[in-house]
Symmetry: C2
Subunit: 191 residues, 2 copies
């Protein structure tokens, strides 16, 4: 595998914890760990946003949250930096065989990705079709094109095949999604 | 106030909520809202990282977290994008009159900021000296210089005065910290 420097390197492997499933989220977390360990990129999943109502302070260092609620996220789940670019994305799984239902992504998350694009960042969604075992990246500019030109409430898989990038599953990293970003940068340059 | 385009604009004002204190965090959140509303930058505070142990599912849409614990954050509190640059920082207050104690920032947060710098991002800390009512930005490169050359466990305020930027308090945004970033970009360019 060749990375920017053009030198074949030996990469640090990411530990596999047995309690991890093979969900899209765990695959992305695994890939992000790989990128971090090998000094390729710094990308993290954001913590789940919650509203904390009650906290029990047993001691100064032992606080227990006893009442909290999940909040609707205002942004996407993942962001970070790669080759100086700001990276921002959301990852979703679907059991549909034919299309990705848009109600899987909040409108304000799409708005957020548009803003990222307008400010010169790289925004995208990663969608896994569970039953087909296929995972695609779709850049925000192609997502916007779809939304501007279609009234449909779901994106057909053919649109992903045509405008997206199929992500192959590997061992380390499990899905090398930054490779698709490299291709994109090479092909179209940056906004 | 002049922004990149060189055009004097009328800016959207950020609502002031009465339940907000004038803490550094609320000042930064206010500024980030201002930047977002006026299409200047997209910068958010990350949610507090917690480990969720128990959740009561009363109904599908009404989940109550009944047991959770605070986690040590692996990154900083704020990140986002400005003029295409990846922005990443941590904000801290101190009651000291003379120096900023380094035990206010976790080592892995400093390591994280170093990585951001190495990947071409803009990393910094914002430190408020509460009793002096002075708030400074210190870029990660100057923070690293201090750590490499000094054995002290706190950064004297004179170091902030010499290498940092004093942030004046305004009404909208409350602290215009991106102005200091502009100055920095103009002066030294980007890594």
């Amino acid at each position: 595998m060749k990375y920017p420097s053009g030198v074949n390197k030996t990469y640090e492997k990411v530990k596999n914890y047995s309690n991890r499933g093979m969900t899209l989220e765990s695959d992305i977390n695994n890939s992000n760990e790989f990128y971090l360990l090998n000094n390729i990129a710094v990308i993290y999943k954001k913590p789940t946003p919650i509203t904390i109502n009650k906290v029990d302070y047993k001691s100064r260092y032992d606080a227990k949250i006893t009442e909290a609620y999940f909040k609707t996220p205002s942004t996407t789940d993942y962001n970070g930096i790669y080759k100086g670019y700001y990276i921002d994305f959301e990852a979703k799984e679907t059991n549909s065989l034919t299309s990705f239902p848009l109600n899987n992504i909040h409108n304000h998350q799409i708005d957020h990705l548009k803003k990222i694009y307008n400010h010169g960042g790289i925004g995208f969604i990663i969608v896994r079709f569970n039953k087909l075992n296929e995972t695609y990246i779709l850049m925000v500019e192609d997502l916007i094109n779809f939304l501007n030109n279609e009234d449909r409430k779901s994106i057909p898989i053919d649109y992903f095949k045509k405008y997206g990038y199929l992500l192959k599953e590997n061992f380390n990293p499990r899905i090398d999604y930054l490779k698709a970003i490299d291709e994109r940068i090479c092909k179209y340059g940056k906004s």
